[in-house]
């Protein structure tokens, strides 16, 4: 599996360190580029590994499907597809029914990236560049659907409800991708930082309290049993899945609310009437 490959890479490249260390993504190597050198970091490699993993999972789930579901994995695949389709249908209008694969892709990518922390790998979502890229993609989609009625209609929407509020509208427009990126990144990163801090603190405490035990008994950090695991269940499992869900939900809500549906359909009806004449 690709994840094993990621672990091997991590062990090969990670410099042996003792005690507490909170660092950004490791830089594996840099490719010289005309404008600026392109560093290939741990987060890029790990997100590529996540993409490959999801690709093979999709192949596995859809391998040998039949009209009448017989295999267990086909039931799982059908359940996933049905859930995302109903989610898209309840949160967006019927016009956006083709959005289900995109939403499922974002959700799966984000969830698997956050869950990578469970394997001891660097979670790509705790790097602002990865999440910022997704947020910019979503921002482009929002702007595209706002422009569906022509650029003039889009510019006019900034003067809503009164024209002198347009600077505030522009700021809130720009703030959308920034807040989406920071929300996801901050949640995952805070979990990672707190886990490291608690682990190091418990190690120090058990050294202080139980250091008098004879031999190697004094070196085992007994207090590290239990608490970091509970924290990991909350921060890595629960928070990671929740953030993936929230990112996908916000994507759907922003795109659906930015789309001027009534104006668009009125315009299209007018156009078809004109072309019929």
């Amino acid at each position: 599996m690709p994840l094993v490959f990621g672990m091997v890479l991590k062990i090969l490249f990670n410099p042996a360190s003792e005690g507490i260390s909170v660092s950004g993504a490791l830089v594996y190597f840099t490719i010289p580029m005309p404008l600026q050198n392109l560093p290939i970091t741990e987060s890029q490699v790990n997100s590529a590994l996540v993409i490959i993993t999801i690709f093979f999972l999709c192949l596995y789930f859809t391998h040998g499907i039949t009209v009448k579901a017989e295999l267990r994995r086909q039931h799982i695949a059908e359940w996933i597809v049905k859930q995302t389709q109903s989610l898209v249908k309840t949160n967006m209008s019927d016009y956006f029914s083709g959005f289900a694969p995109f939403v499922a892709a974002i959700m799966g990518l984000s969830a698997f990236s956050s869950l990578m922390a469970l394997l001891g790998l660097y979670a790509p979502t705790s790097d602002i560049n990865i999440v910022g890229g997704w947020a910019i993609l979503v921002f482009i989609l929002i702007t595209y659907y706002k422009m569906k009625c022509g650029p003039l209609h889009y510019i006019k929407s900034f003067g809503d409800p009164v024209p002198f509020l347009s600077p505030l509208n522009i700021i809130s427009e720009v703030a959308t991708p920034i807040s989406m990126a920071f929300r996801h990144y901050g949640n995952v990163l805070s979990g990672a930082v707190i886990s490291v801090l608690v682990g190091a603190g418990l190690q120090g405490l058990s050294n202080m309290l139980l250091g008098w035990l004879p031999g190697f008994l004094g070196e085992i950090p007994f207090l590290q049993v239990g608490l970091p695991a509970i924290l990991s269940v909350y921060f890595d499992l629960f928070s990671g899945c929740l953030q993936a869900f929230i990112f996908a939900m916000l994507t759907m809500l922003y795109i659906a609310s930015g789309f001027p549906e009534e104006d668009y359909f009125a315009r299209r009806a007018k156009k078809t009437a004109r072309s019929k004449k």
């Binding site: 929300r183 990144y185 949640n187 929230i246 916000l250």
Partner: protein, 93 residues
């Protein structure tokens, strides 16, 4: 020189701590949201699912201001000291 670097490090730590005062706001806000959600579920237990989903969404949006503060605090702890000390060393040269 050591004094200047010490002041930089100490002020970065103080600033990070002061920035996290913003954690109070989202805490109160999310508490209110969850209280209202519990009330709604108690009144209408049949729409528990949609109330929970909406509450989680609202909590995530309310968390954003706290997360801005967190990002600033992390920048102050891990990024700012190196940068400021480098600027100081270059200025001394």
């Amino acid at each position: 020189m050591e004094l200047a670097i010490g002041i930089i490090l100490g002020c970065c730590a103080l600033g990070a701590g002061a920035a996290m005062i913003a954690g109070i706001g989202p805490g109160i806000g999310e508490g209110n949201a969850v209280a209202a959600a519990c009330e709604a579920i108690g009144r209408q237990p049949e729409c528990k699912g949609s109330v929970t989903t909406t509450m989680l969404m609202g909590c995530a949006v309310a968390e954003t201001t706290g997360l801005y503060a967190l990002v600033i605090a992390i920048l102050l702890i891990f990024v700012a000291p190196d940068m400021l000390v480098n600027i100081l060393l270059n200025a001394v040269k």
